[in-house]
Symmetry: C2
Subunit: 499 residues, 2 copies
């Protein structure tokens, strides 16, 4: 039956190529496409997307999968690859073409409406669009199918193998620990360090980011770091992983932590086994696991006392005037400065997950038919008060702030917090396995951590779903406890709090 | 029959999108792809090429063409579009898939062998590859078919509608005028101006190129100017024309004239009617016509006394130390400095076409079965002595210098000189139509010329083949005479020669 396998591999190679080309098309659009190229680029993206869909759902792929599923001579990698492709093939073929088209059109219109509704703080303008999106997402979930509940099908698009109830349980534990912690920390908080606002020449910020990403292990011969308004990381091909960051003259930490975050993603992408490049197993275990890598380099490494002090020493070489008098304590405190804020993407490490949990709760209520789209704004404001103790002044800084819902990305939000939970749990395990990591961070040495991640996470690709991979590495089911412990440790260190 | 037309337009839109995507893939590879991305990029390029070929040669396209060819209600643009697509469809379907594969493989191997044979000056190493390429190109020509002779079929790939005999006649006239002129000019030549070698900071060269391309009309919101080892221009999408140039610290004219040359190509690409973007008529008339646009901005504009003096004034603002004492006369003389040289890509305006003509003569002899591949090196050296009066010291600076033959691009070379011939003839006509162009060049004003080109050439797209378009615009068949007159005028001006 190697014949069927070889034929499947040919198909997979073509799909990998198309996937990389679509990645390049998207990267170029965000990073350097001239403004007047927008309309033709939108159509070209749709064309390449259509071709990918047609090639993936070609009945010949289904036939090959059937043949290989009946073949008991396949090895583990082959078996898992067939299993993963089957999931994708079924998902893409089960949803009727008409629904796919409707979803694309509706989310395009909804997204367009959102770009105008957000600045105008006008929920009514987007409500009918959002209603239709939710209806169609329900239809999509039903077409895909699920064992437990509807939302599971959507979650599965981003976090395969994870159920709504499992997420709910983990997030409840997280909130229970987090809410009192936020109160305690904010009570003990010192004034905002002054260096957080300043004037930091962009060219030098860029030189620092280019140095930093290489310093912690990004292979710049096998990728690039560029600039775009919204930082992201994308696979263009084997040996070609593109990450972006952004520079704000008045906000130095913003570029540093965006770069560390994206480098975390990029290191994961650069760590998949080369021989699996064209196989479904040679990719990430889930978006949550991807996010765990970015969060770990951004937070557990980048916002640690030791690594922050190492970075400060290096930064002073470039920003002598601006940072000359800043102490390691001040810098550490500054890059961890906690605040109650309205906007998720500006939230700090302490409060961020509360923003996520409330979005998850609202999505879940929508898909459990316990909440109507029309009632979202009020439900949002109530949740904000409940979780963060503040109430948005208008919907623009409230329910309209993110593009995800208009974009039809229901089920995506929880992966942000799952990633944060995984990152703390995995870092805790690495530190116990290896010992003394943070001490090395003070000298800017992070290679033992990277090796551990390469061995335990990156090299495993998608042989296991994220939850199973985490369980195997941790020796127990992942939970929010390590994240809570980590945050307690950090803030008791900064503000001498006893929890 | 609008139904068939609409269906064809849908196909054409998809092909245009794929063509643009393939352009982006190529552009990115040359401009900024990280080195380790090469292998996967090569495969991705082949994949997108294969998909384009499959979509173009889909029998449904042939059916639509047949239906539309029988439809007498089509307008001129539709009729011409059907005619152009038919040419391409026939060419792509007539050549057997086996031969296409063999050609791709053979030229890949030959190109690889060439990259090693050239520095080693080892013709024997590439001879068997080249033999096979020529055999396959003969098969390809026979499969495509021709009216006159075999070489016509290859020429037609790049210069549709032009025959070998027509090119031969034009080139004979060119050589007859050019060879004595070269002798006369080189006898009268003054010493090489010193500013031609110097130290010109690359950042400032780049600032100049970015300014220059916009100054003469390149819309930088609808394209980009970047850097690559071999300058080129490529269409990525409507409103997205990418050109590249190169910078050499010790050679200022090199970047300036590469930029002017590529801007000429880019202005042509930016000048096709928007409404024709997805139709075969909305593209260039031939590679020769494309080259005429680049040559005109590089030579008739950029190397004119008046525009050179305008550029010198602007350059002095950036290179005060380096160019402060250079006079307009010296600068004009320097950027037109003629030499007998071995290498085509380094040749000046006066001698360049002799390099081309000898390649054309050798190609023609090969495809008329009057020359064997084994005899190419000696034939090359004889031609060099005959046309340029110098003999290569080895094959590396002789017959092995260009990649075209290993790459299977037989039939391409003549378009370089056809372009030069067109450029002089068209510029002469524009100058007669408009009057006083060169005077305006002294003030850096070139917009009347661009408008004339937009009206007479760019906006016509591929409604006519290049030769017919040139004949219509000129009011007579294009010939080498205007080019000869132009060169005589220039060099009698520089060195006070009476021809």
């Amino acid at each position: 039956m190697t014949d069927a396998w070889n034929k499947l591999v040919e198909r997979l190679e073509e799909l990998t190529d198309l996937y990389g080309i679509a990645g390049l098309v998207e990267w170029d659009q965000a990073v350097l496409m001239p403004s007047k190229g927008g309309a033709s680029r939108a159509r070209a993206s749709a064309t390449i997307g259509g071709i990918m869909h047609a090639r993936l759902t070609d009945p010949a792929v289904g036939d090959l999968l059937g043949e290989l599923e009946a073949d008991d001579s396949l090895d583990d990698v082959q078996t898992r690859s067939v299993e993963l492709l089957r999931r994708e093939y079924d998902r893409e073929t089960k949803v009727p073409a008409k629904l796919v088209r409707e979803l694309t059109e509706t989310t395009n219109f909804a997204y367009q409406a959102w770009t105008e509704a957000k600045p105008a703080s006008d929920f009514a303008a987007i409500e009918p669009h959002l209603k239709k999106v939710v209806e169609l997402k329900k239809e999509q979930a039903d077409a895909i199918g699920y064992e437990g509940e509807r939302y599971d099908a959507l979650l599965d698009l981003y976090e395969p193998g994870m159920t709504s109830v499992e997420v709910e349980t983990m997030f409840e534990e997280l909130v229970e620990g987090l809410r009192p912690m936020v109160d305690t920390v904010l009570d003990a908080r010192a004034p905002r360090p002054e260096f957080l606002s300043g004037n930091y020449e962009v060219d030098r910020q860029e030189r620092f980011s280019q140095w930093l990403t290489r310093h912690i292990g990004f292979d710049a011969d096998a990728g690039r770091l560029d600039t775009s308004p919204h930082p992201f990381t994308i696979m263009v091909g084997q040996g070609d992983i593109r990450q972006t960051t952004r520079y704000n003259e008045s906000d130095l930490p913003s570029s540093i932590y965006a770069t560390l975050h994206e480098t975390g993603h990029a290191l994961y992408d650069q760590g998949f086994p080369e021989r699996w490049h064209d196989l479904p197993v040679g990719s990430y275990a889930s978006l949550g696991m991807h996010e765990s890598q970015s969060r770990m380099w951004e937070n557990q490494v980048g916002r640690s006392r030791d690594f922050a002090s190492f970075m400060l020493r290096e930064l002073k070489k470039l920003f002598e005037t601006e940072l000359g008098s800043v102490t390691p304590d001040e810098f550490f405190e500054g890059v961890n400065y906690p605040e109650r804020s309205m906007i998720r993407v500006e939230a700090d490490e302490l409060t961020y997950n509360l923003h996520i949990v409330m979005r998850f709760e609202l999505e879940l209520a929508l898909f459990r038919d316990e909440l109507e789209v029309a009632d979202l704004p009020e439900a949002w404001n109530v949740k904000m008060e409940q979780h963060l103790g503040i109430r948005p002044g208008n919907d623009g800084e409230g329910v309209l702030q993110d593009m995800h819902w208009a974009g039809g990305m229901q089920g995506y939000f929880p992966t942000y917090s799952l990633g944060t939970i995984y990152s703390a749990a995995l870092f805790d395990k690495a530190n116990r396995d290896l010992g003394g990591l943070e001490g090395e961070f003070g000298k800017g040495e992070t290679s033992r951590l990277l090796d551990w991640l390469r061995t335990n996470i990156h090299s495993k690709g998608h042989m296991l779903d994220a939850k199973d991979l985490a369980t195997k590495v941790l020796g127990e089911q992942p939970s929010a406890q390590p994240l809570l412990d980590y945050l307690k440790g950090k803030y008791s260190d900064i503000y001498s709090i006893t929890f």
